[in-house]
Structure formats: structure tokens, C-alpha cells
């Protein structure tokens, strides 16, 4: 490892730009003649639109155009799509209702897009929108999962509001395991709905270039190529070669910026119609209402164990709320990103999971940091903890007894775990945490009138999503590889073009570290180019913790080709045979001699092409590669949460947090640790603070930070982070992915610790002070009696 190579915990190259305010975000982009879009949104959760009168708005000052669903229908603009086809138990394809970018005849959630006003200024657009008259016929709203099947029908294609009724696993074998179980643990849980809230809200600038009849869209996207593909091939705005999508600096996404939404679609469509650039910038309230939300499951789970405390079966039944429309990847989240992870770190011979996905009159629900895996981990890590308690076994020992120890391990639910050492993570986490000292810490808390609890979460996730053929067989509409191009300039500096997209992950640093390591050149001589479909040929983008395992592997593969080519050039320059050229630490040397040439010399020689025959060896030094892995990667680890509860108020304070993760090989341990910190903070948010709440009319009560509680610095402790390492065998770098692990691992650790402190299991997320206070009533009486 060099000072800036693989494994070096160096500060991020991009940070200077960001912390000095020199980033360039979509809202920093302003085009000549730009007009502003403002969306009129539905105030009703469910209503028929009888009539829209835009005439007064049309004539308001500064207004360029007002468009409604009729206009996009007339232009044959395609609807927004869901790119993952799920089939129900009976083999029928999912019931996907139409999703027009502007409502046609009906609105289906508060915030649904009714009309767009485009004006010279945003204030004028907003003023004019108030002049639009809409005649709504309000319909009963369907909000609760419990009543969704009996509520008013939201989409004509979906009777009883069922999107699909899907399952996975061997039901008969699982039922048999339960029939012969010694003990069955039962768990009823809610996985609360979350609002992603990236720091930068979404934004778009659409532009039409009349001279070339082409479109440009600047957008806050985690995957600009996928956005172009969908907007081009499915929504039909322009063919791909006439369509450029640019996602510049993007301030966080957490999944919510994967999806192709109505607003950017309208901006770029309208730009052509009015022959002016059109800008839209989401305000925070709009983000609450319309960004795809996350989670929202109601689950019943059962775990069967035998007389020795071995798990013999797991049965899970989930209702998943997908909101009013199917967002881009919504259907995959509660199915293939969920049930295949239910085996956790455990050897479970029989698993059966069924998921009923339902429409409701709420914002669409899609992938949010972890996407399906946090939901699965919450189920398995809560029920395993409960089973241990019911069996009077130490929760760590119960887990240890059931850990998978042989690899590869084929679970009964698709996944084949390639490698891992779960006991190593558990052991290390227990050591770091000082488990032995818990009893005295608890006694001390109790002497001060406080309850103290400790909870484990031994999570596994599947990321680095994934082999294209595998996801294709499960219903994905796209392949999930990644591309890279390595351009070596004549003086030896390097540009890496990647299909991954950085929106907080630090790719400009980690990707450059890989190149610095491979080529032996300073990290400052490497730049990372991403987020522009005119520069990077194709890519699948960043989500599912895939940019390291998949994106960097593509760079690695392209660098292999660069090295082969550069060695050929070096052989000519050094007048030696190609087989005798060795490349190490940025130097080409002839084996067994002192003849050598440095990287810059060979790069220059590749371009001036004086030393070799251009017919036999092409001039230049530029290579590209696509990487399609052989498997998902399986990061795993153990988190331990220790917390204190004030039973008088229900306030919870996290006192200690240990995270030991196995992410395989690390490129930049500091960035990895930062990802763990951020992930845990989001998981703590879900466990204790966050929850999107709609009232029975479908109004979002938590539509601002006044009511939606985001975690703050004081809500999280100073983490103790450790690592164990089993290199991943399915990519050349041996790396697994770390972006979501913290958010996946942490919620059950918190709730296991809280229920441990309270002495009973009856507590749902978010465990707000009031809920904890109520749950603590019994515990308080016990303490008083002692």
C-alpha cells in the first residue's frame, strides 16, 4: 500500500470543493432564457378531476405556458415506469396502474401532479398556479395497510388495490418444520415509513437545442444513464443519441434520486415545447410529499426451533405499502431485495416468505438506503433475539449456535453466501464493547433510576447489485453491470470515466486511490469523470452499495488492459521483448537489467508513436471495460447498541455503540467508517425518531422538519467501529460494499436494546419518548418493588 493507494485512510479530494461552497449542483446551473416550472399539486388523497380551468393562470403576468395531463396525452408522452416485473403466486403479472407525469382524470395522493405552470420567474409561476381552478370530486382515501384491500379502488387494473401477492420459498417444507418444532417464537411488527430527506432536494433544468434537435437534462440523479434510457426508450422524449443527461454534484440521494420522476420529465418535455430552458427546484415540503418514501411494512413472522435451540424454520408474511403509483424499482424492494435476506447469518433449513403489495393513497414507496434488506434484518434480528430470550439462552450464544460456518452456503431463498466469518465479527464486537462490564453499567444506571439495555444485531446484506443474468431471471428490466474507461493523457495523467455516480460516497478519492495504486502515480494526477451521458458511454449508476464492488472492478479490468498495452509500448521503448517487461510502482523495467522507463515516458511514447510500428501496435493509451460480477456480495457484521432509558419521561439515550463489519478489502478505511457512521445515524433515526404519518384523509402530517424528526448529532453516540475481513471472491478487488450496512444493521440493535431494558417485547418503531414511557410503566413498577 502506498501513501495514497488501496487501504490508505486519506482525506477526500472532493471535500475542499464542497466545504468551500464551490460545488456545482443542479440549482447552480442557470441557462440563458430560462423559465421556471411550478407544479400545482393535489390537495386531496383521492379524487376525480372533473375539470381544470387554466385560463386565468394562462393570462397571469409572466406566464409562458400552463400544461395539464391532456397536453402530455396529446403529445403521447409515455407514463413513468416500474422496471421490475413481479409475478403473483398464481403466475399473473403484477397490476401496474398507469403513472402519467401529469394526472389524467384522477389524483391518487396529496402532492400528485395536477398541472405545471411555466413562467419567467418562479414567483410568477407560483402566483399563477393559485389561479388554476380544479373541480375535484373527492373519493374515499385508502391510507392504512390494514384496510387497503377493502378500500376504494385506486387503479382500474388493481382489484382490491393488490399490486401482487407474491411468495418465495418452500411452503410445505417450512410448514413441516413448524409442525415438528419444539418452540415457536412469534413476532408482529411494523417497519415504519421513512422520508429520505437528502440534504439537497431534487432539481432539474431541461433544455432543447434547436440547432441539433436534441435535449439536455441537468438532474439530481444517482444514475443519469438509466434516467436517459427511461426518458428516451419508455417515455419517448428523444432518442438516446439526441439526449444528454447530466447529473453534476448531487447532495445525497439514499435511493430517492434513483427514480425517474414526473418533474424532470416535464421540464425537459416542456423545454422543447416552449423553446426555452425550464428549471424546477423542489422545496422541502414538496420533497416530503413527493420523493419516494421508504419501508412501510406490516409483518407477522414465526421462528421454529428444536430442542437444542437450533433454528429449523422461518415463516414470514408481509403487507407492503407501495403508495399510489409504482415508482421505478418499487416492486423489487419488498420481494427480491427482502425475502432472500431473511435467512440472515443463520443456517435455516426452511424459509417461506409471502408478500402482499398494496396500493394506497400515499406517496410512492421505493428503495431507501438498504432497500428491503433493513426490513429483512429487522424481522430476523428481532425474532432471533426474542427466541433466545424465550429459550433463556444468551442472545449472542443463540446466534453463534445457528451461524452459517461453511461457505459457500446456499440458503433456501436464492442467495448463495460466498464467504464470511460471522463468529469472528461477533467475538470482536463483544471484546470492543466490553460485554463483561454491562452488568455493572446496568447496576449503576439503575442506582440513578434509569433502565439500561443491550441489543445485538448480526446482519447480513446482499449488495454490489449484481449479476445481470441473475437479476434478469428475477424480473429486472435492466442488466446490472458497470462500465469504465481509462484515458491516459500523453503526459501520464489519467481520466477515469465511470458509470457510477458519486453523491456523497467519495468516488473522486477512492477511485483515484485504486488508479494511484495500480499505476504508481500521484493521486492528484487522476481525475474521475462521472454523471454525464455525453462523456461516459453507458453506466448503471450508484445504489445498492455497488460502486465499489462493481464500478471499481470495471476500472480494475480496464486498468488490466492499460497495463497490457503499456507493456507493449515499453517493450519497444526499452528494446526488449514484451514478456521481459515488469511493471511495478510506476516503473517499467526489463527483467534482469537496470533498463527502465517511468510511467510518464511510456504514456508519452504511446502517443508520439515513434518507437513502434503503428500498423502493429495502435498508438494511444485508452481502454474500456464492462464488469458483470458472478454474484452479489455479502457484507455482514455485528452491531451492539447499549442504551439508557429514563422511565419517568421515556427518553432514550444511546450510551455505547459497537459496529464490527466485514466489508472485505477496504480502499479507504476512513470513508468506509464514515459510511458506517452515517448509516447507523439513519438507522437510529428509524428506530427512535422518524416516521411518516398520514391522517385518515391522506394528509401528510409529518410534512416538515417541525413534525418529522430527523436524527441530530446529539441523538447518536460516538461509535466504536471495528473490522474483520474475508475478501470477496466474486470481484478482483475482494471488496463487498459498505454504503447501506449501517442503516441495515442498526434498527434491530436499538429495539433489541430497548426491549432488553424494558423487559418485554411490546414496542414498535419509532420508539418515541411517549411510546417508551408507556412501555416502561411495567418496568418502573418492577424497579420500585426491588
Amino acid at each position: 500500500m502506498g501513501a495514497t493507494g488501496i487501504g490508505a485512510a486519506i482525506p477526500r479530494k472532493e471535500d475542499h470543493r464542497f466545504i468551500t461552497g464551490k460545488g456545482r449542483y443542479v440549482d447552480d446551473i442557470n441557462r440563458p432564457g430560462q423559465a421556471y416550472a411550478y407544479f400545482l399539486r393535489s390537495p386531496h388523497a383521492h379524487a376525480k378531476i372533473n375539470r381544470i380551468d387554466t385560463s386565468a393562470a394562462q393570462n397571469a403576468p409572466g406566464v409562458v405556458e400552463v400544461y395539464t395531463g391532456d397536453d402530455i396525452a396529446a403529445d403521447k408522452v409515455g407514463g413513468l415506469i416500474c422496471g421490475w416485473l413481479i409475478h403473483s403466486k398464481d403466475g399473473s403479472p403484477m397490476n401496474a396502474g398507469p403513472h402519467p407525469a401529469l394526472a389524467q382524470g384522477k389524483v391518487r395522493y396529496v402532492g400528485d401532479h395536477v398541472a405545471v405552470v411555466i413562467a419567467d420567474t418562479l414567483a410568477q409561476a407560483r402566483d399563477a398556479a393559485e389561479k388554476i381552478e380544479v373541480d375535484y370530486e373527492v373519493l374515499p382515501a385508502v391510507i392504512d395497510l390494514a384496510n387497503a384491500q377493502s378500500g376504494a379502488q385506486i387503479h382500474d387494473v388493481a382489484p382490491n388495490n393488490v399490486v401482487y401477492d407474491w411468495h418465495l420459498g418452500d411452503k410445505a417444507a417450512t410448514d413441516k418444520a413448524f409442525a415438528s418444532a419444539k418452540h415457536v417464537t412469534k413476532l408482529q411488527l411494523v417497519n415504519n415509513r421513512l422520508v429520505p430527506n437528502p440534504m439537497e432536494p431534487r432539481a432539474a433544468v431541461g433544455e432543447y437545442e434547436e440547432g441539433t434537435d436534441s435535449l439536455v437534462l441537468y438532474t439530481t440523479s444517482q444514475n443519469p444513464h438509466v434516467a436517459r434510457l427511461v426518458l428516451s426508450a419508455f417515455i419517448g422524449l428523444a432518442p438516446e443519441h439526441k439526449f444528454r443527461v447530466i447529473a453534476p454534484d448531487v447532495g445525497g440521494g439514499f435511493g430517492s434520486k434513483i427514480f425517474i420522476y414526473a418533474e424532470e420529465t416535464i421540464c425537459v418535455w416542456a423545454a422543447r415545447k416552449i423553446r426555452r430552458p425550464v428549471k424546477w427546484n423542489c422545496d422541502r415540503t414538496e420533497a416530503f410529499l413527493c420523493d419516494a418514501h421508504g419501508r412501510d411494512h406490516v409483518t407477522h413472522a414465526e421462528l421454529a426451533t428444536d430442542a437444542e435451540g437450533k433454528i429449523t424454520g422461518l415463516r414470514v408474511s408481509t403487507k407492503a405499502n407501495l403508495g399510489a403509483y409504482l415508482s421505478t424499482f418499487a416492486s423489487s424492494v419488498p420481494t427480491y431485495l427482502y425475502v432472500p435476506l431473511l435467512s440472515g447469518q443463520y443456517n435455516i433449513p426452511a424459509i417461506y416468505g409471502e408478500v402482499m403489495a398494496l396500493y394506497t393513497n400515499t406517496a410512492p414507496v421505493d428503495a431507501y438506503r438498504g432497500a428491503g434488506r433493513p426490513e429483512a434484518t429487522f424481522v430476523i434480528e428481532r425474532i432471533v433475539e426474542m427466541a433466545a430470550r424465550e429459550l433463556n439462552m444468551d442472545p449472542a450464544e443463540f446466534r453463534r449456535k445457528n451461524f452459517v460456518t461453511q461457505f459457500p452456503h446456499q440458503t433456501p431463498v436464492i442467495m448463495c453466501y460466498d464467504t464470511g466469518d460471522y463468529d469472528a465479527s461477533l467475538k470482536k464486537a463483544q471484546e470492543i464493547h466490553d460485554i463483561a462490564g454491562f452488568a455493572s453499567r446496568k447496576a449503576k444506571s439503575e442506582s440513578q433510576g434509569k433502565l439500561r439495555g443491550l441489543g445485538y444485531s448480526a446482519y447480513i446484506e446482499a449488495c454490489g447489485i449484481a449479476p445481470s443474468a441473475a437479476v434478469g431471471s428475477l424480473g429486472a428490466g435492466v442488466g446490472l453491470w458497470e462500465s469504465a474507461e481509462v484515458r491516459v493523457n500523453p503526459i501520464g495523467t489519467v481520466e477515469i470515466l465511470t458509470g457510477s455516480h458519486s453523491h456523497g460516497q467519495g468516488h473522486e478519492t477512492t477511485f483515484a486511490q485504486l488508479v494511484s495504486d495500480r499505476l504508481g502515480i500521484p493521486i492528484d494526477n487522476v481525475s474521475i469523470v462521472h454523471g454525464d451521458t455525453d462523456k461516459v458511454q453507458m453506466g448503471m449508476g450508484t445504489y445498492g452499495s455497488r460502486s465499489g464492488a462493481v464500478g471499481m472492478s470495471a476500472i480494475f479490468k480496464a486498468l488490466d488492459k492499460i497495463e497490457v498495452k503499456a507493456k507493449k509500448v515499453a517493450a519497444h521503448v526499452l528494446e526488449a521483448s514484451e514478456g521481459d517487461i515488469e511493471f511495478k510502482d510506476g516503473k517499467f523495467a526489463v527483467k534482469g537489467t537496470d533498463k527502465n522507463a517511468d510511467w510518464g515516458t511510456i504514456a508519452l511514447q504511446a502517443y508520439i508513436a515513434h518507437k513502434f510500428n503503428g500498423q502493429e501496435l495502435e498508438p494511444g493509451l485508452k481502454e474500456s471495460a464492462f464488469w458483470d460480477p458472478t454474484n452479489f456480495t455479502f457484507p455482514a457484521g455485528v452491531h451492539i447498541c447499549e442504551l439508557e432509558v429514563d422511565p419517568a419521561t421515556g427518553s432514550t439515550t444511546i450510551e455505547k455503540w459497537t459496529a464490527v463489519d466485514d466489508f472485505g478489502n477496504l480502499i479507504n478505511p476512513m470513508i468506509v467508517e464514515g459510511q458506517v457512521h452515517g448509516g447507523i445515524a439513519q438507522g437510529v433515526g428509524q428506530a427512535l425518531l422518524e416516521g411518516a404519518i398520514y391522517n385518515e384523509d391522506g394528509q401528510l402530517i409529518t410534512a416538515s422538519f417541525m413534525d418529522y424528526c430527523m436524527p441530530r448529532a446529539h441523538d447518536v453516540p460516538s461509535y466504536q467501529v471495528g473490522m474483520t475481513t474475508t475478501p470477496c471472491p466474486s470481484n478482483p478487488l475482494g471488496i463487498k460494499g459498505c454504503g447501506e450496512a449501517g442503516a441495515i444493521a442498526s434498527p434491530p440493535a436499538v429495539i433489541n436494546a430497548l426491549t432488553n431494558a424494558l423487559g418485554h417485547e411490546n414496542l414498535q418503531m419509532p420508539a418515541t419518548p411517549e411510546r417508551v414511557w408507556k412501555a416502561a410503566q411495567g418496568a418502573r413498577l418492577r424497579m420500585a418493588a426491588e
Binding site: T649, M710, P769, E770, K774
Partner: protein, 264 residues
């Protein structure tokens, strides 16, 4: 935000005169409630009379046995004032618990009490300490000033100029924050002056800040948190929302009151 006309007042008289000339105008103090409301288009005053440059409305002074805080004094200035800290340290502490640093550098005591948000902190201090609200027209006891949710005894053409706090032997404010907004979900201020004890509650009352007289009676007999054991408050008089039911708030009032007494 809709367009409005901005008037920069040079004095209290000037501000009142400008208001007289524009009946639908609003005073702008620190703007920590009014401006966000206007940005959301929930308020649309056509005229704003900015008090930010009125020198006579700023400052903190100890005048004999009372502390005078002028209306446009920022929370940060109260929180860090040596005069306040030595006169009534609990009041400086309360000011330091309002909002976040940005809010404390903009928000003012006059703005806070004139708005009378049911979750605001200062009204509890004013009631517990028996403050006098001074306006350009008259002097009002705090109890007569706060008349209900977001409402006060202020008349047209009346403006708060200062708040006068008498000295108490003991004063403590205990706040249980709303986890999301960080406003008081329940805030209890306890003051003891000679034999008199006052307990004021903010954040919870369905009609805004109020005095918990039952607790005052108990504490007047015995200023000890144990005196409040078994005392409860009727949840029917309180607010409930997604963050805390009436019952929870009623319970928290007891807990916060005991803690305030213990720490006073």
C-alpha cells in the same frame, strides 16, 4: 412569499405611526415565526414594519430590584448577559434553551411574547416570575397579557417595549423538547419569592401558557419535589398531537415540575 412593502422604523413612535397609516401592517421583530409563515404563503401582510433599527428597544438593565429587558433584545444576548446571569441565572439559562444558535441570534423577547406561541419558553418565565409587560401605552401583568393561543392583550397601535422581571429567590425552567421541532412539548417554570411559589406551564395547555395553581399551593407549604407526589393535572385541559398525547403531557408536567423544584 408574496410581495410586501418594507418599512424601517426609526423609533417606537415612528413604528406606531407607520402602523396607523397602514392598518394591515405587521411588526417585524426577529422574524423567527413570521418570516417562515410568510415563506409558506400562510401569512401575507402587505406591509412589514421592521423594528430592527430601533435603538430604544434594545438592551438589558438592572434597575434596583428589577431586571428590564427591552423588547428587541435577542435571545443570545439574554443567554450570555452577565447582568441576567447574576440577577436571575435561570432566566439566562432559559434563553439559551430557545431554538438553535441561528434562532437565538435573531429571535427577540418581545417577538416571542407578542406572538404567544403555546410552545414558547418566555411566556412561562413571565408568568412564573410575575413579570410586567411594558408597552408604548401601559404596563400589564403577565397574567393579563397572555390571553390564549397566539393571542395577547395587545391592542391596535400597541407595541411591547420591554419586559420587567422582579427578582425571585429561586427560579428554574425545565423543558422537555418536542423531538422534531425542539420546541417545548412541556416546559415548566418554577419561581419562589419569599413565601410565594409560582408554577407556570408552557407547551401543553390547550389555551396556551398557564399557572398550575394546585402545584403552587403544595409547594408554598413545602418547597420540595416530594410535595408534588400524587398531584396530577387534568389531561382534558391539555393539547395532544402525534408527538405526545394529553395524558403523556400531563405526566410530563409533573415530572418537569419536580425536576425544576429539585434543581431550583
Amino acid at each position: 412569499m408574496y410581495a410586501f412593502t418594507h418599512h424601517l422604523a426609526s423609533s417606537v413612535d415612528d413604528a406606531v405611526k407607520t402602523l396607523g397609516a397602514n392598518g394591515d401592517a405587521k411588526f417585524l421583530a426577529g422574524g423567527q415565526t413570521l418570516l417562515p409563515t410568510m415563506k409558506q404563503r400562510l401569512a401575507a401582510p402587505p406591509h412589514l414594519i421592521d423594528l430592527g433599527k430601533v435603538k430604544e428597544l434594545r438592551g438589558i438593565e438592572v434597575q434596583g430590584d428589577k431586571l428590564v429587558i427591552k423588547a428587541m433584545t435577542r435571545h443570545y444576548d439574554v443567554a450570555t448577559s452577565d447582568a441576567v446571569k447574576s440577577f436571575q441565572p435561570g432566566l439566562a439559562e432559559l434563553a439559551g434553551l430557545i431554538g438553535d444558535p441561528a434562532v437565538r441570534h435573531r429571535g427577540t423577547i418581545g417577538g416571542s411574547i407578542a406572538n404567544n406561541d403555546p410552545a414558547a419558553d418566555y411566556p412561562a418565565a413571565c408568568l412564573a416570575l410575575g413579570a410586567t409587560i411594558v408597552t408604548n401605552k401601559r404596563r400589564l401583568e403577565a397574567e393579563k397579557f397572555f390571553t390564549g393561543l397566539f393571542s395577547t392583550a395587545l391592542e391596535d397601535n400597541e407595541i411591547v417595549t420591554s419586559v420587567e422581571f422582579p427578582k425571585a429567590d429561586k427560579f428554574k425552567y425545565m423543558k422537555f423538547r418536542n423531538p422534531a421541532s425542539r420546541y417545548a412539548m412541556v416546559g415548566v417554570a418554577v419561581a419562589k419569592k419569599g413565601g410565594e411559589v409560582r408554577v407556570a406551564v408552557t407547551g401543553a395547555g390547550s389555551d396556551g401558557v398557564f399557572r398550575w395553581t394546585a402545584a403552587e399551593e403544595k409547594l408554598t407549604q413545602n418547597f420540595d419535589k416530594r410535595a408534588l407526589e400524587g398531584l396530577s393535572i387534568d389531561p382534558g385541559t391539555l393539547n395532544g398531537d402525534i408527538h405526545g398525547s394529553r395524558e403523556y403531557r400531563a405526566h410530563l408536567i409533573g415530572v418537569m415540575a419536580k425536576r425544576a423544584v429539585a434543581a431550583a
